[in-house]
């Protein structure tokens, strides 16, 4: 009888514990990105982020056969906004090239982000990811939607058990911080092209 009940509980545990997606966040303290001292490009840009992107939920593998889920565009939006604010004279969020704010605010460029992520953990018993990567591609177009340039960077975050036991999102946050710092430098590196 006990074996039968144990078998039933084990089945329940397998059903409830495998394949579930644990929520994590890529949001980090983006105020640390401020005061970079970057030589600002004297032009205004629009950050294109749609509501659909903001609601997009990504699910990727993690430890113990589980998965993690997060909203990459929502979580990175203010970081991208700050990176652009540090590199350009002004930044406004717009819905696309047809947004009336493009003309009203005199935007010189529109910046369209594409975010790709991966996560992994070799652990069989803990679910938080030990390695997390975030790749950001910024497509820069003019107000007529003609391509101007493209910036691609990839960030990586690692966290071991001692780190993530107080923050299950740590590797994701570290990857987000890394990619935003690299993005700041990458835009600065091509600033001559955008002046």
């Amino acid at each position: 009888m006990a074996i039968k009940v144990l078998g039933w509980l084990a089945t329940l545990l397998v059903v409830t514990l495998t394949g579930c997606a644990h929520p994590v966040s890529l949001s980090s303290d983006v105020s640390k990105l401020m005061g970079s001292g970057a030589n600002k490009i004297d032009r205004k840009v629009g950050l294109v982020m749609t509501d659909e992107q903001r609601r997009f939920e990504q699910t990727t593998p993690s430890g113990g056969g589980d998965k993690v889920s997060y909203l990459p565009y929502r979580d990175l939006e203010s970081g991208l906004y700050v990176v652009l604010s540090e590199n350009f004279a002004g930044v406004t969020r717009v819905a696309g090239v047809n947004d009336p704010k493009v003309a009203a605010d005199g935007l010189a460029f529109l910046v369209l982000p594409a975010i790709a992520t991966t996560s992994f953990s070799p652990s069989l018993v803990t679910w938080p990811p030990t390695i997390f990567t975030v790749a950001v591609t910024l497509s820069v177009v003019d107000p007529r939607n003609n391509p101007v340039t493209e910036v691609k960077v990839q960030g990586e975050g690692r966290a071991e058990f001692d780190d993530f036991r107080t923050d299950v999102s740590l590797s994701a946050k570290r990857a987000a911080e890394d990619v935003l710092k690299k993005l700041m430098k990458a835009i600065n590196d091509i600033s001559a092209q955008l002046r």
């Binding site: 509980l9 929520p23 949001s27 105020s31």
Partner: protein, 188 residues
Amino acid sequence: MSANVWKLAALTLLSAVLVGCATPAPPYPTLVDNIEALKRVSAPPVGVGAFTVKSDVVGARSIGLRADSMTSPVGNDFAAYLADALQKELTLAGKLNPGSATVISGQLLKNDIAAGGMLTNSGEIEARFVVRRSDQERYNAVHRVEATWDSSFLGGVAIPKARQQYPMLVQKLLSKLFGDSLFQAALQ
């Protein structure tokens, strides 16, 4: 033997539901909507004053999330978290000036997030915001926000989900404040 098997099975199942440890809330993530709302207010930069907690507020220092608990990652209580959130939004909008004669202060009146529900959970924050300029009170209002979200039987899902909701509730509270035309007028 069979009693031990029963106990082990029950404990394993219980730990799967309740597992967790005391951790701080996520640092406040600024919201672009809030930054842009502040930028649109044609007022000079302002300062952030004292944020306190009403004496009988449960959850001002620590919020229970099943067997876990959540504390503020800044200061001693969640009033400090609210002040920090306001400072971050003002900073990114270029509207913070610690030396300004116009100062925003506040008091936390309600602060709660639940993680106990198996299907859904909810949370609420209520705070009084006051704007003073050179000892003259220009604004005094209470704002309250609440949220409900899908939850889970599993602590490993329900607790992180509840923890992530807290900064979003604060974002929502500040959105309400920044969207108040009387608040905007008080800053001018």
